[in-house]
């Protein structure tokens, strides 16, 4: 397997340029073609100067967020005010949840301490502006990755940590196993949401009809559905699992396996700081790769002794992948030890070990029926 080494010519450039620049005033050429030589020399010097400063500026910009986080001694992470399983704060001020753990993992990679995070609750309207203005280093707030959010706000999504999408909650008594069997049923829908459009599109595409009970708020929808005013409650699957818990008899209802829209959720960073973007992105990839390789918070100490090349590269006992990213060689081992691998974080917050009990579904590893797939560390 080829191991990528840092490009020596690129790595050597800044210092070489710097030396040349320093030696310039000493060299006083005595040749006849003094002016022309001087002109040429000046041209070269200014070129080198420009190149050197460009490199310096570029590397400064690239290192901005990581340096700022290190100097501050804590990561500042924008999260949701409160969303069951994704981010919530207890009465002692301790944050927990799936979105919260992504930030803890980034802090673990940088500081070897998952506690060095300051959480800033942001509402939906303020979240992107808060990131853009630098109030937070990373936004991990169940935000859907769309093109316009990257292009109009100057932001970039680092990864998809949770593949969400619109699904359907129905009574078990309805005896339905697929969304295609919902022809003629009545739907409780939130007025003016994309959910309403998704249902319309899906039913049109599949030559089915439905009747809509349109309501303004989720609470009204839940009451209407529980009271039997409609057959189907349609919204994002993660939300359906949370809402089902509020029904009078949750066990009498089922969430169909169908997902009819794309709502990829993930952490967001500012454009223009590639080093920081890389760190956040690979934090997620490290957790996915760890799960795939069987490296968990419970097996990490044995993984440090592993002889398997893939495991060694992940935990940092082979290669210098962490250093190349501006981190320590054991960056990924720190993440797994202090926060866990992707599967552990999923199950603890929103999966089998949580009240939500969301099945992995699309968020299963690609080897296990889902689409979570991380590029390899090599």
């Amino acid at each position: 397997m080829p191991i990528d080494l840092p490009n020596p010519s690129l790595a050597a450039l800044p210092s070489a340029a710097g030396r040349t620049r320093l030696s310039l005033p000493i060299r006083q050429p005595r040749a006849r073609s003094r002016w022309s030589f001087r002109d040429r020399l000046l041209a070269w010097a200014s070129l080198l100067l420009a190149l050197a400063s460009a490199l310096v500026v570029a590397s400064l910009a690239a290192a901005q967020t990581l340096t700022a986080v290190r100097e501050r001694g804590a990561l500042v992470c924008g999260v949701s005010h409160g969303l069951l399983g994704f981010s919530s704060v207890d009465d002692k001020g301790n944050w927990s949840g799936f979105d919260v753990d992504l930030c803890r993992a980034v802090a673990a990679a940088i500081f070897n301490d998952a506690g060095k995070v300051r959480f800033v609750p942001l509402d939906a309207a303020a979240r992107f502006a808060a990131l853009k203005s630098g109030d937070v280093d990373v936004l991990s707030r169940n935000s859907t990755w769309t093109m316009s959010r990257e292009t109009t706000f100057g932001l970039v999504f680092a990864a998809v940590t949770y593949y969400d999408g619109q699904g359907f909650l129905v009574r078990k008594a309805l005896n339905v196993e697929s969304a295609l069997e919902l022809d003629g049923k009545s739907f409780c829908l939130q007025t003016g949401t994309t959910g309403e459009l998704n249902v319309a599109d899906y039913f049109r595409a599949n030559n089915m009809t439905y009747s809509a009970v349109e309501l303004a708020s989720l609470d009204e929808i839940l009451t209407a559905y529980d009271g039997g005013r409609c057959d189907v409650f349609a919204t994002d699957v993660s939300q359906l699992h949370a809402e089902r818990l509020k029904l009078a008899k949750p066990e009498e209802h089922v969430i169909l396996p169908d997902v009819i829209s794309k709502e990829p959720l993930g952490p967001v960073v500012r454009q223009g700081d590639d080093q920081w973007f890389t760190i956040v992105k690979w934090t997620h990839f490290a957790m996915v790769n760890a799960e795939e390789l069987g490296v968990s918070s419970k097996t990490i100490e044995r993984a440090m002794q592993s002889e398997k090349p893939e495991v060694k590269r992940l935990v940092g006992t082979a290669g210098n992948f962490g250093e190349q990213a501006g981190l320590a060689s054991d960056w990924a081992a720190r993440i797994v030890r202090l926060v866990g691998n992707y599967g552990e974080v999923f199950e603890r917050n929103i999966g089998t070990k949580s009240p939500l009990g969301i099945p992995r579904g699309l968020n299963h590893l690609w080897t296990m029926g889902g689409i979570q797939y991380a590029p390899p560390i090599r």
């Binding site: 196993e177 697929s178 949750p250 066990e251 089922v254 169909l256 396996p257 169908d258 997902v259 795939e292 390789l293 069987g294 490296v295 968990s296 419970k298 097996t299 044995r302 993984a303 592993s306 398997k308 495991v311 999966g351 089998t352 070990k353 009990g357 099945p359 992995r360 579904g361 699309l362 299963h364 296990m368 029926g369 889902g370 689409i371």
Partner: protein, 209 residues
């Protein structure tokens, strides 16, 4: 005659678990530490008949249809020991998912097997090792409610592995000391009715480090 054959088969299964001692120990040495540490320390409790409330599993482990992409054809069983789930592939990106408890022997092997035999209310003969630990156990227990093997057993190839029921529903979702893959009785009866002899069973373990 039928009863006798059944008894012998159970003996073979139980003895198989013991006779495989050397190989078993080796395999056990490679078994992830976490699984040993997390093992639920429960003894077999023959005669205990769980009430319906106890048999109602936590929501996550209840039988349910889930999204599941796979290249395996519908009708295939996929056992994922690290997750404590058994999937019955339905096609159309779906699987019926059952919560399972995984016994020590369930962690020993991965690969493809086929269901070689099905049995209703199998008899139970605790292995001598278990008798040493729990001397008060019966030496033989006829199949029926309260039997630790539960309502149904599906035998896998000519190995000692099998999918069976349990009279201890609280062990679902855990690693347990004995047995292979256990489901609550309602689930194992449901599965039994859906799969014929010859069904492909893929067993997947957590990768070795």
């Amino acid at each position: 005659m039928e009863r006798e054959r059944r008894t012998i088969a159970v003996w073979l299964c139980v003895w198989g678990l013991l006779a495989s001692g050397t190989a078993g120990e080796q395999a056990q040495a490679q078994r992830p530490m976490s699984l040993q540490a997390e093992e639920l320390p429960v003894e077999e409790q023959p005669g205990i008949v769980p009430d319906p409330d106890e048999e109602r599993l936590p929501a996550a482990y209840q039988r349910q249809l889930v999204f599941f992409r796979t290249a395996e054809p519908p009708g295939t069983i996929i056992v994922s020991t690290s997750e404590r789930f058994l999937y019955l592939v339905q096609g159309n990106n779906r699987a019926l998912r059952y919560g399972i408890g995984v016994g020590r022997d369930g962690f020993q092997w991965s690969g493809l097997l086929r269901i070689s035999r099905k049995s209703e209310w199998p008899d139970w003969i605790p292995p001598p090792e278990m008798i040493d630990r729990q001397p008060y156990l019966p030496r033989y227990m006829a199949g029926g409610p309260g039997n630790p093997l539960g309502a149904r057993a599906l035998y896998l190839g000519n190995t000692v592995y099998r999918i069976h029921g349990t009279n201890q529903p609280q062990t679902i979702g855990h690693a347990v000391s004995s047995g292979c893959f256990r489901l609550v009785n309602g689930d194992v009866m449901d599965l039994y009715d859906r799969v014929p002899v010859g069904t492909k069973v893929v067993v997947r373990q957590s990768p070795e480090l």
